[in-house]
């Protein structure tokens, strides 16, 4: 691939009077990219544009060097798992994936073998010959993903792929995305559940109200938000004593003890400095530390800050 994976300039899409995406300027180099935003942010519209399902109302979009809409050459390199759960209910999982594999140009034999492999890879080995009409939401997600993967795409576009999966299924799916990423497959994955994306990738694109809100690594974006302190949630038997000790540090912005006396919320504008000092204080004070979590480095916090 020469050039960026996705390049959008002034990209807009509207549905009659409703704006789906507005004047998006975006360059994505590749790898695994998380597309985030609340419902109605424009994520699905952007994915549909990238998947070549709809065309821009204004502006330009190039993916893998192609204009996506109804572009057969581009579709050879694309694997798309849409948000909707519908499959061909009359077919078995294997027949469904095999049919789409044939449409992607695989021979009958290759289509059969690769469909089996793709379904096994997405955890559907036990349901190859079951009609899809009886599938749960999670099984439909896995089948859609197998269909998107079966022809070995360069770019995998998946819309809310973790919805409907149980915790174990989510872990398996996240592991699969990471494995695919290591194999060199570019992945564009959308979700409105922020921690899901965070577990897959650090590279994110944030959309809000049909516009680009931010783009980059979670940590980098967080660093740009200098007016918002980093936050740590600490659980300790002697939270008040710990709060008192921490407030003596120049790096500490604030320390609030929870009403139960066991929790402490610590805020700082200098996380690196605080994290250097914290072990020393914990060692000296021995406050009965139970847990410490830098919640504010998380995507939830970044997103909350950005859309506030």
């Amino acid at each position: 691939m020469s050039g960026p994976l996705i390049e959008a300039h002034g990209l807009s899409r509207w549905y009659g009077p409703v704006v789906g995406l507005n004047d998006l300027e975006l360059v994505v180099e590749g790898g695994i990219v998380g597309l985030l935003g609340p419902n109605g942010a424009g994520k699905s519209t952007f994915l549909k544009l990238v998947a070549g399902e709809i065309r821009p109302s204004r502006g330009t979009l190039r993916v893998l060097g192609h204009e996506p809409f109804a572009n057969r050459e581009y579709f050879r390199a694309l694997g798309f798992a849409p948000q909707q759960d519908s499959l061909y209910d009359e077919l078995t999982a294997l027949e469904f994936v095999e049919f789409l594999a044939r449409l992607s140009g695989l021979s009958a034999r290759d289509a059969r073998l690769r469909s089996q492999a793709a379904l096994e890879r997405t955890g559907m080995a036990g349901a190859l010959h079951r009609p899809t009409r009886g599938f749960s939401k999670g099984m439909r997600q896995r089948t859609k993903l197998a269909a998107a993967l079966v022809h070995g795409p360069q770019l995998l576009v998946v819309d809310e792929p973790l919805t409907g999966l149980d915790p174990l299924g989510r872990r398996e799916m996240v592991a699969l995305f990471q494995e695919l990423g290591r194999e060199g497959v570019h992945i564009l994955i959308s979700s409105h559940v922020l921690h899901e994306i965070e577990s897959v990738t650090e590279n994110i694109v944030l959309l809000h109200r049909s516009r680009l809100l931010a783009q980059g690594r979670v940590g980098d974006i967080r660093a740009l938000l200098s007016r918002y302190p980093h936050r740590y949630e600490i659980r300790a038997q002697r939270a008040r004593a710990l709060a008192s000790a921490l407030l003596s540090l120049p790096a500490t912005h604030s320390a609030r003890v929870a009403p139960d006396g066991l929790g402490l919320t610590l805020e700082t504008f200098a996380p690196a400095e605080l994290e250097r000092e914290l072990p020393r204080i914990l060692g000296e004070l021995r406050p009965g530390l139970e847990s410490i979590e830098g919640t504010d480095a998380g995507l939830d916090a970044v997103f909350d800050y950005l859309v506030a």
Binding site: Y15, S44, K48, A51, G52, E53, I54, R55, F69, A70, R72, E73, F75, R76, L78, F80, P82, Q83, Q84, S86, L87, Y88, D89, E90, L91, F99, L100, R102, L103, S104, G105, S107, A147
Partner: protein, 269 residues
């Protein structure tokens, strides 16, 4: 994959999906409706002969309503069901020509409509052959009674084949242009085909029904002339009728194929 192989794959998959039991029963019931009525007549009728039952049921019910409606349900299945289920995405994000998707599925829809309509017509002939009216069916006009003549069965079957073709093409084409092909198709079937084709005068020739009736009138036994309203139109000859219907079907398929090439389908979540 070759274009032929692709069309075959799409045709075959469409058939597999269309003949799933929960989908096909309503179509089959509709296709067999004239036969069911003929069966009831065979048990209860006292003033109708087999040829009269067959010709009237074929003219007013089979060709005028059942064939269009079965073809409507089959024809809109080319795209409407995929749009409704939002599964069209799977087809339109694969490296296959959209035209092939349309034509392959239209061929599948035609096969479904043809099979059901021909079976329905054969069932009508068989069911009506049981009507006795105290005497044997007239073997000269009703071949299933004694099989000497094709003046009824061949004209019906020919009209059913041509009707399945042209109506399936029409409704498949409509399914490309509108998101509500069922409503449009029903309005067309009842308001244009059923109403206009029964008005006296040359306006009848604006309907597909007129050309199907022309085929029957030209090919059929004189018994068809006993049907009420038969004389209110002057019919074209059979070759012209068949040719016109095939050309219309081809043009409709070409129009649908042209439109689908760049048509955008927006699915909301």
């Amino acid at each position: 994959m070759s274009h032929t192989g692709l069309l075959f794959l799409l045709w075959r998959t469409h058939l597999v999906r269309s003949f799933a039991p929960r989908r096909v029963w309503m179509l089959a019931l509709l296709a067999l409706l004239p036969a069911l009525i003929a069966g009831i007549l065979s048990l209860a009728a006292r003033r109708v002969t087999s040829p009269e039952a067959v010709t009237n049921l074929a003219w007013f019910l089979q060709v005028q309503l059942v064939v269009p409606l079965v073809s409507l349900l089959a024809g809109i299945g080319v795209l409407a069901r995929e749009i409704e289920d939002r599964t069209l995405t799977y087809l339109f994000t694969r490296p296959v020509p959209r035209v092939a998707v349309f034509l392959g599925r239209a061929a599948g829809a035609f096969s479904v409509a043809l099979l059901l309509n021909v079976l329905g017509a054969l069932a009508l002939l068989v069911a009506a052959s049981g009507i006795r009216l105290g005497k044997s069916p007239d073997a000269s006009v009703f071949p299933l009674a004694a099989f000497p003549d094709d003046g009824v069965s061949v004209s019906i079957l020919g009209a059913v084949v041509l009707g399945s073709l042209v109506y399936t093409a029409l409704f498949a084409c409509i399914s490309v242009f509108t998101r509500h092909p069922m409503i449009v198709g029903l309005v067309y079937t009842f308001a244009i085909e059923s109403f206009l084709s029964n008005l006296p005068g040359s306006n009848q020739s604006l309907t597909l029904q007129y050309w199907l009736r022309s085929w029957i009138a030209a090919k059929g036994h004189p018994i068809w002339q006993r049907i009420e309203g038969f004389a209110s139109a002057s019919y074209a000859d059979s070759a012209e009728s068949a040719l016109r219907l095939v050309v219309i079907a081809s043009l409709l398929l070409a129009l649908g194929a042209w439109r689908i090439r760049r048509k955008e389908y927006v699915f909301t979540s």
